[in-house]
Structure formats: C-alpha cells, structure tokens
C-alpha cells in the first residue's frame, strides 16, 4: 500500500448498493452494511456491537418527530378528519390536484424559507390533510380513480412536501445547513458570509418551484387522460 488511506470500508457502500438493487429487505441491508464496514475497518466484533449500540441510543431522537403526533392524528382520523378535508375541497370547483399541490408547495417552501419548517410534514399534514384533499380534488373532476393513479397522487403529495421543505429551508440563514457550510469552509480557511450563501440558494429554490409545479401540471393532465372527465 503506497497510500495511508484505507479503502476497504468502501465495501460497506458496495453492500448498500447491491442490497437495494437486489431488493433485499432494507433493514437487513443496513445491518449487513454495518457489519461489513466494521469488519473492513478491522474493528473487533465486540467493538462493532458497542459502536452500533451507542449510536442506536444516541440517535433515538430521530423517530420522535414521526411518532409524537400519531395519537392525536389517529383520533382525528377516527373522527373523520380525512372525510372533512375531502368534503371541503370538493366544494371548491376550481380546485384540481395539481393546483392544490402547487399552492401547498408555494406555502411550504416560503414558510421553510422563513424558518417555519414545522408547518407541514408527513405525519401531521400530508397523511391526514394534503393527500386526502389531493385525491378528493381529482375525484370531484373525474369520478372514481384507477388504483395506480390514486397511488401516484398520494406519492406526489409526499414528494411536494419534501421538495418544498428542502429547497425552502436552505434559503433561511439560521438553518443548520448554512451553519454547517460556514463551519466547513472556515476550517479550510475561507470566510463566507452566511447571508451570501442563503442568497445564492435562491436561483435553485426558484427553479425547484418551477420544475415541480410543471410536474404537478403534468399530473393534472395525466388524471384527465387516464380517468377522463366526469360524464
């Protein structure tokens, strides 16, 4: 070996790629990648298990954001929250799935750009409100939906939340990504104003909105083409 960098831990990445391509169960892929990475870095087995264990305990704050709203959302669903959202959207005759999701994209991205990232999210907005409304808007136009189309509408609702969040929050100066970039550039001897980084994110943020809104328009046309206008 003429260089000091150990390339063997890259086998862990190979396991991940191969596992997902071969459609092995994702949880098994993850644990296998942990084992291979640890062994390739020449850690003893007990050390690997200890690293996994302390990391597992340390990162248990991650699922909180998903789990804590569930009890409230579940009760509201039982009391008809989805049905209420669907009935409300059906009374707005100009509402289409694409227009509704475009409005949500705009609000989500703008709110995130002002640091209000908690205004939205999959468990507390998309599942109980946005996805049912998107489905109901399509049903109000074309009647019953074929199952693949219904699933596509739900997936687009989740996608819209992600796109709005990702490309909005990075324009907000106090967001973690900006702090991270500043720290890393500073370590390399480059002093950069966080405001400039936020500013130069705006062209991409606008492009993200335009591209995704265009895809939502295509979804509207697909709904009309596959389900046809209501007779």
């Amino acid at each position: 070996m003429h260089n000091a960098v150990n390339l063997w831990p890259l086998l862990g990445i190979a396991v991940v790629v191969a596992g997902f391509l071969l459609r092995v169960h994702p949880v098994l892929v993850t644990v296998a990648a942990c084992a291979v990475t640890g062994l390739a870095a020449a850690f003893p087995v007990a050390h690997i298990l200890e690293s996994l264990g302390s990391a597992f305990i340390k990162t248990r704050n991650l699922p909180l954001i998903l789990l804590l709203p569930l009890a409230a959302i579940g009760l509201l669903e039982r009391a008809g929250l989805k049905e209420h959202a669907q009935a409300s959207i059906a009374t707005i005759h100009s509402a289409t799935t694409g227009r509704l999701l475009t409005v949500y994209l705009f609000v989500r991205e703008l709110a995130a750009a002002f640091g209000l990232t908690s205004l939205g999210g999959h468990p507390n907005m998309v599942r109980p409100l946005i996805a049912p409304m998107a489905e109901a808007a399509a049903e109000a136009r074309v009647g019953s939906l074929p199952e693949p189309l219904r699933q596509r509408i739900r997936a687009m609702s989740a996608a819209t939340d992600n796109v709005g969040l990702f490309f909005g929050e990075d324009v907000f100066v106090a967001f973690g990504a900006i702090v991270l970039m500043q720290t890393i550039l500073r370590a390399e001897g480059l002093e950069v104003d966080p405001l400039h980084m936020a500013l130069w994110g705006i062209p991409t943020a606008v492009s993200a909105f335009v591209i995704h809104a265009w895809n939502l328009r295509r979804l509207d046309r697909r709904i009309l083409r596959e389900a046809g206008p209501r007779k």
Binding site: V27, T37, A55, E77, V126, V192, I211
Partner: protein, 317 residues
Amino acid sequence: MISLDFFYVLVGLLFAATAVMNLRDRSNPRRFSTALFWGLYALVYLAGERLPPLVAGLLMVAMALIAGFKLVQPGRAQALPEDVRRASAARLGHRLLVPALAIPVVTMIGSTLLKDVRIDVRPLLDPKNLTLVSMGCGAIAAFALACRVTRSTPLQGVREARRLVDAMGWAVVLPHMLAVLGLLFAEAGVGKAVAHLVTAYLPMDSRLVACAAFCAGMALFTVVMGNGFAAFPVIAGGIGIPVLVGVYHANPAVMAAIGMFSAYCGTLMTPMAANFNVVPAALLELPDKNAVIKAQLPTALPLLGVNIVLLYYLMYQ
C-alpha cells in the same frame, strides 16, 4: 425543565402498549414476534443510556433480524366504517382542524416566545433540543384537544397510535438504523476513502466538467449516504475548495449554496433517506415503497442539470 428524556419515556410507553396490544391480538398471525419487536424497541427508549452499549448493539441486531425476516405484522385494524366517519366529520366540521394545527402553532410559540423563559434559573424548555421539545409539547397539546373535540378517552388515542405504528411496521426503525450506519461510516473513514478516490481519478481540466463533477458528486454521494450533510464536507473538500475555488477562483458562497442544493437533489432520489422517502410511502399505505422516490425523479434530475448550469454561469459573481 422539559427535556427530551420525558418524550423518550412517552415513546417508550407507546411502543410498550403496541407490544402488549399485539400480544393480546389473536387475529395477528405473528403476534409473538411482533410483540417482541416492539417490546425491544420500547426497551431502547425506556432504558436509554442505562443500557450497556454492547447490549444495545445486540438489541439492534435482534430487531433487524426480526423485521428482516418479515416477522413484524400489523394486527387487526379496528377502524370505524366510512359512513360513521362521514357523519362525525359533518357534525364536527372545522373543529377537527384545530388539534391538527395546534402542533405547528405550539412548536412555533415554543421555539420563539418561550425560548428564554426560565423557572428559577433553569430554562423551561431544553435549549439544546428546542424545536424537538417544542414539537413534543405541541403533540401533547394536540392530543388533549383531540380527546376533547372527539370526546374520546386517552386510551382510544393509544389504540389509534398503535394502529398507525402497526401500519408503518418496520419502516419506523429504518431511518434510525440508517443513522447508525452513517455514524459507523464516519468512524470507519468511508468519507476519507471516497474523497481520496474522487480527487485521484477525476479529470478537472475543463470548467464545465469540474462543475458537473462537483454537482453530480454531491448528488451521488448523498444517494449513497442518504444525507446531504454527510456528502457536503467530502465533496466540497475534494472538488469544491481545491478545484472550483482553488483553480477556477469561484465565489465560495455560490459553490457552497449550489453544492448543498445538489446534495438535496440526491436526497430526493435515495431510499437511504428513509425518513423523507420510505416512511411517507408506508404512512400513505403505498404498496410500492419506492413510489415517493419515483414521483420525485422528474423534479430531482432536471434540477440537478439546472444546478450545473447555474454554477457554471454564476460562479464568478
């Protein structure tokens, strides 16, 4: 002080309840292994740091094996029939929205107005985890309001939470386990190895190739790691700073901003970002776990191209 520990106990109790309800549910064909899975996860939250790391590691591997061999199954869904829900929706109307909106409202109040509130000298909300703790308080407020509006008992709320946890199944733990993998990658030096390969083998003598390699590298490395924050230091350190700034004298602010957004294009395309891509598919009960990623590809790929062009033309600003 309200800290994360309080919410860890709540989530632990929720998983314990999920385990017990599944154990007693004779309609669940895998009730023992399902109960064991959620019981072990409850232990992770209830015992927390008191678990020796070796034991916690073994716990994680055991959970992965139970989930990986499809031994975690949902119990019987005891949802109300649709006409009952419709009648209830018509009766309660917009009041149903109040608890749902309480979560973001309380989160915002907590993380702005209550930020500096102290009882004696200790802060009311844990300042290190302010947003998460505020969101937890919002969830509790929403739960109380939901019980009031729907005139349900808290026990019914636990049953509903179990229904949703059951429906998501193993997808609940996937983001958690991927985060563990990310930390192990860092400890084993995977990032260093990738940076070494990228800088040693890519030709950087044309400005367009350098811009494209930088943006695509960010996206690709994020696809593999599942996290833009893991990709940024590696690719910025490997291409962005030495080549774009060092050789082509790009504005570092433009390089950084567009680089991070290219990484986010990668986040939209990978099952490794399970929190954003796989969990919502489970939450929306989509049979294809990659459906959200497929819906995002037509946005992510053109946007990556736009990023390369933007970087090429804006880098001297």
